[in-house]
């Protein structure tokens, strides 16, 4: 009997967790008047003005009244680079916060982003679940998920190029506190992933976890599908299997 109760409880919990999978208010995600859908945003020309409604997923940095943030709605992501934002407003941009952003679409080294933007906070909340894109690595499908919160499963840590599992900065010229670069492979292909120090500094769990990686470790990871001359995920969590 206890077994059945435990199973029922576990099943209920699983359903509950699935239900909580961050879809708050996002089921409908109807856009306001004059606001683009994600498809319209993707179709918009670089340098054109864009207006989107989206939800904060993570904050990279605040810098001289400019905020850089990872945002996403149920259809796709929008990376917003150096949006005009007071320090007071920046504090309000917690994960899930709905914002209406007006700015210009831009592309920098393959990273599509919104720049020179302003924003206003709106009612609504949505935290995206990580989309498993492991099988999309190396395919043309991957870029359609650019900037989304994603996960990678069962990747193998490779030599970062310096005989260890990671490097400070891309060429090992940095020190603690700088970006971490590490190589992970899947299906025979190796990819360079990054712990972006503005997003996750050296006090975070992910920074410590990457510093503890060993070549050959098999890891699951989550992060944002950033782009720089190719895929360059900004990793926010690493779990050694």
């Amino acid at each position: 009997m206890k077994k059945y109760v435990a199973l029922i409880l576990a099943f209920s919990l699983t359903l509950a967790l699935a239900g909580c999978g961050g879809k708050d208010d996002a089921g409908s995600d109807v856009k306001s008047e004059g606001v683009m859908t994600h498809a319209e945003y993707m179709a918009a020309a670089v340098d054109s003005q864009v207006v989107v409604e989206t939800y904060v997923q993570a904050k990279q940095s605040w810098w001289e009244d400019k905020a850089t943030i990872y945002t996403q709605d149920k259809d796709g992501a929008y990376f917003i680079y150096e949006m005009a934002c007071s320090e007071e407003d920046y504090a309000k941009l917690t994960p899930g916060t709905k914002i209406k952003v007006t700015g210009y679409k831009s592309e920098w080294s393959g990273e599509v982003e919104i720049i020179d933007a302003t924003f206003e906070i709106e009612d609504g909340n949505y935290v995206a679940s990580a989309l498993d894109v492991t099988n999309m690595l190396g395919t043309d499908d991957l870029i359609s998920h650019q900037n989304e919160f994603v996960s990678f499963k069962g990747m193998t840590v490779e030599d970062a190029g310096n005989g260890s599992a990671f490097m400070y900065k891309w060429d090992n010229s940095g020190t603690d506190g700088d970006d971490l670069y590490f190589n992970v492979s899947y299906n025979g292909q190796t990819y360079t992933f990054t712990v972006e120090s503005y997003l996750c500094d050296n006090t975070t769990d992910v920074y410590a976890a990457v510093k503890n990686l060993q070549i050959g470790d098999v890891v699951d990871m989550e992060g944002f599908l950033y782009w720089y001359e190719g895929v360059n995920p900004h990793i926010t969590s690493v779990t050694v299997k």
Partner: protein, 533 residues
């Protein structure tokens, strides 16, 4: 392996606020005593100094700094040098200003003269080097120096003078570079043009526009791709400054009067707008690193520092793009475009070294000895060979080791990478054609503003905005305001003679003095009364 560079943040406002804080902090404070040369260097004392250095995200440069420190510490076992590395000058500037307020500046610091001008607003913050230069025992070529120190006459005088302002030397040069135009010669010739020895602006604009022709498939005819930005400039502040200097137009006076917002600037911006609108021209801030586009066959004229030469060309030892995106082409390394090819003018840039003052003059002397060590051949030649830098001493430039290095350009794609050595030769051949802008408190902001004019104009035309007189008027006003150049510019925060005190202030001060005298008198009389009881 793909190398990745990081988008560096622009921090003008922080610099301004920090500068303001520095000025406020210094106001009325006495600061350190001026450095006074000790009789002799006390080698019995353990001394620890810090060296804040900049590298171009280049591991070899880091290794050279570390080796220089180790070698120096062997020569001076009583001096320990702590290295702190930065990858951009802006961060060093920010951190120095922050640390001035707490007297925790480094001892030796890689910097730009523009930045030193701000540091100098503090009292005795930066050490004037004149006395140290000339000291017979510890100065240039000094008799008591533990290594073969260079003589002052062996430092390239043009570079040494760049560290002289306000009547003193405040910096020694460490490395020098200029900008180069890295050209896809293959595409220029495919377009039916012959590359001249010295590029002109007219030539670049003409070829860049010609390159924009597309075929029926929408791809550009010259590269067969759907991406092409014929002309990309990395540093638009340098672009504007060099254009103005080549035209003999105003920029600023040596005293710090801002002259940037003039008619020649406007004329240049109209031309730039035209080519920004057609998409023949773009900038690093708008599009990305020129090298990435050049190496992918998506750019024909890429202007970047000679210190970025190792990223340029099909066989570049450093690159950000993947192998499958590389396109093979012949690269030419030419001076930046000119208005008058017979009188070429190009900017001199590169790291300099300054010393920060400390309470202990022995510490300052130790710093000076280390700074001098950076001018020895071992350091100069090794560092210069990492990029398209040139050594700042004639001793290094004329050494057999360095001339052999230059002669071996193209032998390999690493140490003797041809493009890098061509870039270094470009500066050696054009040293007399280089210039620097006046240094004053605020000159760094003026430089940023010069670049911002181009960035804003190009962004505007790309977004379909009209660039006309109204736009220019607003652009000048906004840029001037953004960089605080409308508040008296440089002079706003400079120390200057404010003239005699106004009468009201004199009356107030006299009144205060009288009140104090009366209070003291009262206290004395009361004390006498008490005694008499």
């Amino acid at each position: 392996m793909i190398k990745r560079k990081k988008k560096v943040r622009f921090s003008m406002l922080a610099l301004f606020l920090l500068s303001a804080a520095l000025l406020a902090g210094c106001h009325g404070s006495r600061g350190l005593d001026a450095f006074s040369m000790p009789e002799e260097f006390d080698e019995s004392r353990e001394l620890e100094i810090t060296f804040w250095a900049k590298n171009d995200t280049n591991k070899t440069q880091t290794d050279i700094y570390e080796r220089a420190i180790a070698d120096f510490e062997r020569l001076y076992p009583n001096i320990k040098v702590n290295l702190r590395l930065y990858t951009n000058y802006g961060d060093i500037y920010n951190d120095v200003i922050t640390n001035i307020a707490t007297n925790t500046t480094p001892n030796v610091c890689i910097t730009y003269p523009d930045h030193i001008a701000t540091y100098l607003t503090g009292t005795n913050v930066v050490v004037p080097l004149d006395e140290l230069f000339a000291d017979e025992r510890y100065g240039f070529g000094g008799s008591e120096v533990h290594f073969d120190s260079v003589g002052q006459e062996e430092v390239v005088s043009r570079f040494l003078e760049e560290g002289a302002f306000d009547g003193h030397y405040y910096a020694i040069p460490f490395m020098r570079s200029t900008e180069a135009c890295y050209v896809n010669k293959t595409y220029v010739e495919a377009l039916g043009y012959t590359l001249p020895d010295v590029l002109t602006w007219d030539f670049i604009w003409e070829v860049s526009e010609a390159a924009l022709k597309t075929g029926a498939d929408g791809n550009y005819l010259v590269n067969g791709q759907n991406v092409l930005i014929p002309f990309i400039y990395k540093s638009t502040d340098n672009m504007m400054i060099q254009m103005l200097y080549q035209r003999n137009a105003d920029y600023s006076t040596p005293e710090g009067e801002i002259l940037l917002f003039n008619d020649t600037t406007k004329e240049l911006l109209y031309t730039i707008a035209e080519h920004g609108k057609s998409r023949a021209f773009s900038t690093f801030k708008i599009s990305s690193y020129p090298a990435n586009f050049l190496n992918a066959g998506q750019c024909i004229f890429a202007v970047d520092s000679t210190a970025g030469a190792t990223w340029m060309g099909t066989d570049a030892p450093l690159r950000d793009i993947s192998e499958d995106k590389l396109v093979r082409f012949e690269t030419a390394v030419l001076p930046v475009p000119q208005f008058d090819p017979d009188v070429p003018r190009m900017i001199s840039q590169g790291p300099s070294v300054c010393l920060f003052n400390k309470e202990d003059p022995q510490e300052v002397l130790a710093s000076w000895l280390f700074a001098q060590y950076l001018l020895t051949n071992d350091v100069q030649i090794a560092y210069a060979e990492t990029e398209g830098y040139i050594p700042v001493t004639l001793r290094a430039q004329n050494s057999a080791e360095y001339t052999d290095y230059l002669a071996r350009g193209g032998e390999d794609h690493a140490l003797h990478y041809e493009i890098k050595i061509q870039a270094a030769k470009l500066l050696i051949d054009n040293t007399d054609n280089t210039f620097v802008t006046p240094v004053f408190n605020g000159s760094a902001s003026l430089r940023d503003a010069a670049g911002q004019l181009i960035e804003t104009t190009v962004k505007a035309v790309r977004r379909g905005q009209t660039v006309d007189e109204a736009f220019m008027e607003a652009l000048y006003a906004d840029t001037s305001s953004l960089y605080r150049l409308d508040q008296g510019g440089a002079s706003a925060s400079e120390k200057k003679d404010l003239g005699p005190l106004p009468p009201t202030a004199v009356i107030l001060l006299v009144s205060l003095a009288v009140v104090w005298v009366l209070i003291i008198l009262y206290v004395v009389l009361q004390a006498k009364k008490t005694k008499s009881y």
